[in-house]
Amino acid sequence: MPDFAIPEDVRPEDGYVGRRMPRIEDRSLLRGEGGFVDDVPVKKGTLHAAFVRSPHAHAEVVAIDASAALAMPGVFAVVTGADMAAETDPMIVGFENPIDYYGLAVDKVRYVGEPVVAVAATDRYRAEDAADLIRVTYNVLPAVVDPVTACEPDAPKLHPRSDSNCVSKRHFVHGEPDRAFAEAECTTELTIRYPRNSITPMETYAAVVEANSETGGFDVLSNFQGPFSVHTVMALALRLRTAALRHRSPKNSGGSFGSKLVIFPYIVVLCVLARKARRPVKWIEDRLEHLSASSVAPNRVTKVEAAYTKDGTVTGLRLTHWDDHGAYLRAPMPAPIYRMHGVSTNGYGIRHLEVTNHIVSTNKCPTGAVRGFGGPQLYFAVERMMQRIAVLTGQDPLDLIRKNLITADMFPYKAVAGSLLDSGDYHRTVDETVEQGDLAALKRKRDAARAEGRLYGIGYAACVEPSQSNMGYISTVKTGRERERAGPKDGAVASVTVAVDALGSVNVIGDSVPQGQGHQTALAQIVADQLGLTPDDVVVALDTDTAKDGWSIAAGNYSCRFAPASASAAHQAATRVREKMARIAAANLNVPADNVEFTDGNIHAANNPDNAIPFYRIGGLAHWSPSSLPDDVEPGIRETAMWNAPELTPTTAKDEINTSLAYGFGFDFCGVEVDPDTGVVTVDRYVSAHDCGTILNPGLAEGQIRGSWASAYGATFLEEFCYEEDGTFRSGTFAEYLVPTAAELPDIRLVHPTPHPSPYTRLGAKGIAEGNQYTTPVCIANAVADALGIADIRLPLRPARVLEWLQGEEPPPSAAVAPDEAAGEPARPTIDGSGEMQVPATPEQVWALLLDPERMARIVPGCERLEAAGDNSFAGTVVLGAGPVKGRFEARIDLTDLERPHRARLVGAADGPLGSSRGSGAFELAAQDGGTLVRYRYSVELSGKVAAVGGRMIRGAARQLIDRFLRALVREAGGEATDTPPRGLAGRLRRLAGGRT
């Protein structure tokens, strides 16, 4: 891998830290021998859970009838929101807020896919059969999905305890932004809409929950990833002593990218379900559940304003964020926006900053951790602004970036919002990247392409990459007074234990809860170096058990915690073991303890390698012969380090917060070409550089960069959770939520710049896992802005969207295509349609037919039963669908504004396991040619499962149903339908072709 070799001058002479070596984990993972939750055997009698989920974005839960489900053989228990409200307390988040969240909907549903009822049965099939039988009656309410609209006074309100959907608003002033803007030579603004996305792990949520009668609590096995501060949230919700909630995680977790933090509400619900069922309960989330209702990154609207000089020196920045957290806040939300608060000015020397954070509730899936954690949203705004200022001041964007970056002599640098940037030489990193990535060649290529009239652009993006979160930063959401009342929060404690047994075998346990990152390998490298062993001599176990491990609230896998925190804790614990063993050995070697070295499995005098004793002998002495140990040395060898960094201080009274401990630096540039015929943006070249200080293992680091590139590419081009304006969810499967595969991903050129180790971590290592989440989306957006000369770039870069940016008027059809035939359907949340049809009967006859339930039952496609339900109202059962995809719906239609036999309006609703539909329409009857011309229009909203997984076909399927209805209407009236869509298209095509012959 020539692209990511450690430069000669910083390559370690000996030792394993810094070496590229095969991953220990891969010995089992690549053989299919990993141990995931679903691989762990469960007790006999363990039940399986399934959830009834909301088909509506916003509705009152009027009634829940689970009697049929409970009567099913093999069904043991159901739990509803009412049960949760009775048996648990709302799950807390880091500040006082008006949201009561119980894991199951209480009184109202607030997003499509929200769990409403949990059911436990002997297997998952039965559990899903039972879920199908549970009848939930809803009263549908208007929904709101846009975070800015949601803050308006007349927007539908989600939470009864708040008169606004803006559940937290904080305003920060750092420096003198008003003066900076007033005195600025130039100002400009830009509004960013960052999309809602996630990174989807292969393994979904998985948990096995059992009530423990000894403690009165629960034993839980799950792939929860931490932070373990959330363990407290679960215990408090369950009204338990924290120690009575024992949580274990298995050896392996199949990816997470942050998402598995938010399995915790499900754990709380499953605990209540297991208690009620008096059996252990297991739940493996399926993909539909994961995509609709697990956790996503908040989408965000940001208005960014900049004050700058004519030469492009940025003097002030104003950021107004509307951060869309969906229906509920779940700990540690709204953390992402606060995690990045300290670096709101990125790596630039901007000293005047104003930030306004609106934390907004909308009728969408609630948010959680996603790799990047607030960074992609922030840096998209800041780096797009830097590109804009370059355009507006007529200079190369890279010159502008260089002009504004802080210089090497300023480290450690306290950014205006409080982050203490620990080390780096940003200009050197940029220069090395430009040089090694051959920017000059890329510029020549752009010039040549443009000379040929092609749309080619170059983009740049820089980022400060925070790692190891300060557990206190979330308190910045509170006011200074609230913080004073609550007491200080800061730090980030990491725990690693190193033990040496009686035969000198080394065992390491840690709290880093990996999901495939290679932590075992890196920890083995670190500990081996301290003890003069090889990584193969070190056995690392990273499954966790809250009842037995050393851990603290910061434990877990998030925010690039491993390289700075876990590596430091491992280094500290291994150092303590080394010091202890050195003292034991020193007595045997007759040398002072500080004159002892550990090499190749021996402990020896530094100045005389022959004066040596095998490592295992010292381990043996500590266990077999405590009496032979020096007086003040305890028997056994087991050291647990609880490592913290003093730089992680609480939020100051002026709202300054050092949000993270170590800050790496990333710089990317790229060349893209836009195809004017298709709207496709092709990444021609992508260069990425990361200074993350000491690299523990270049292979692992490269894996993080390439993985982050892949997910960032997805965010840039493909991935978005789509909601209609009415809250209908559209991205329920991987055919709708598109994730890049190897076939889509271009290769990238990695540059390894001169590292600047962190002075605050024990090995100098900083995180590297998130850098491309920050740089890649905006780097490519900046390149597209450069190629097209436009300011407003929205992700993902769907070709259809790009095409609209670059194409003017579309050529109209010729006269051969009649205007009504040419009308493509517009983008609307509803399925709309209109048309007309000649029916061979008088208007009076047609009218009578339309109001006769018996005859209508013969006309309505799939109608099994239809009866009058009051004046001009009908109720019945219909089987609706397309082809084999169909479901039974309970339907109700009300006719209004009747003008017999001329016109009427109708509204209807249909509900079934496939989803829910609300529609309205109108028809007019006019006598014509001895029959009746029926003119109709309709508008249908579909929500629930079919809308989420079948969006591609819904419009066509609706057209097909209407067509069938109209044909049946004509037949019922005594005629034969001809030439109606969709078959009418054939005739249209024939006419078209005929025009050419």
Binding site: Y125, E128, D129, D286, L288, D677, T678, G679, F717, L718, E720, R730, S731, A735, E736, L738, P740, T741, A743, E744, R798, P799, A800, L803, E804, E810, P811, P812, P813, S814, V817, E821, G824, E825, A827, A882, G883, P884, V885, L914, K945, V946, V949, G950, G951, R952, M953, G956, A957, R959, Q960, P982, R983, L985, A986, L989, L992, A993, R996, T997
Partner: protein, 277 residues
């Protein structure tokens, strides 16, 4: 994502299969490769009472050259067909289209007739069936009938196959001397259903263009002659006439643009010219 309860039979002969279909009618589904049916079952979008597994029936697994046509048995997988040595010579447009049908792994399971019967408007194989004006042989306890592509493909997921009928083979006319074909597809990811796919055939002056992904089924436009200078206008009218809708992946306008763009490329390719940029 677990299916509702269903029964399962695995007939050993076509007669047994159609007898099962006759008995259960619309409550039965034929299981061939299962690449569409299994996800729909798991999502409970379909709830048949019984699955009739045709994978072990002898006589459905063959690919036969019948002179004018290639007959593809009901259990022939897309992978089998792609590997068939005579494919490129006899059905060049199918050979071009098959690599776009799902992925290598799904093609090893998914059947040709299954894809045709599923009738996804964006699928490549129904597009080829439409362009070539092939036919489907349907067997039932009532007898045998062959249905033309135009009659068979009725709309979204909807075909002329009656619930008691089994598609025993698809017949695709072989490329004749002098015919030229081209296939072009636009998708966001390799292996996805097409946003727009087109297949073109030129025979002498006559040009046919089949378009998938826009209307509710693949539609074919046929021109007895289509001079080069008329192509753009013809395609623009076709793009508008096909209608098309917005969905989360693309807009109606984007689809029209792709019909114009891919259509021009495909038609040019059948003329032996390099595709227009």
């Amino acid at each position: 994502m677990k299916p509702a309860p269903f029964d399962y039979v695995r007939p050993e002969s076509i007669e047994e299969a159609v007898a099962a279909l006759a008995e259960h009618g619309d409550e039965a589904r034929v299981l061939a490769g299962g690449q569409s049916l299994m996800p729909m079952l798991n999502m409970r979008l379909v709830r048949p009472e019984i699955l009739v597994d045709i994978n072990r029936i002898p006589g459905l697994a063959g690919i036969d050259d019948e002179g004018d046509c290639i007959a593809i048995g009901g259990a022939v997988t897309q992978g089998d067909l792609a590997d068939w040595p005579d494919l490129a010579a006899t059905l060049p447009v199918v050979a071009d289209a098959l690599p776009h049908v799902g992925h290598f792994q799904t093609r090893n399971r998914g059947t040709v007739c299954g894809s045709l019967c599923h009738a996804d408007p964006s699928s490549e194989l129904p597009l080829c069936l439409a362009l070539l004006d092939g036919g489907i042989e349907l067997r039932s306890a009532r007898g045998v009938r062959t249905v033309s592509a135009d009659e068979f493909q009725q709309g979204i997921l909807t075909t002329a196959k009656a619930p008691d009928e089994l598609a025993v083979r698809a017949r695709l006319p072989k490329a004749r001397q002098g015919e030229r074909f081209a296939f072009r597809e636009f998708h966001l990811r390799h292996g996805d259903f097409a946003i727009v796919a087109v297949a073109a055939r030129r025979a002498g002056d006559a040009v046919s263009l089949a378009v998938g992904g826009v209307a509710d089924r693949p539609e074919v436009c046929h021109w007895e002659s289509l001079p080069d200078d008329a192509v753009d206008d013809a395609l623009n009218d076709l793009a508008w006439a096909l209608g098309g809708s917005d969905d989360i992946h693309a807009t109606a306008r984007h689809r029209r643009q792709l019909v114009r763009h891919l259509g021009r490329q495909a038609i040019a390719a059948t003329a032996g010219n390099r595709a227009a940029a």
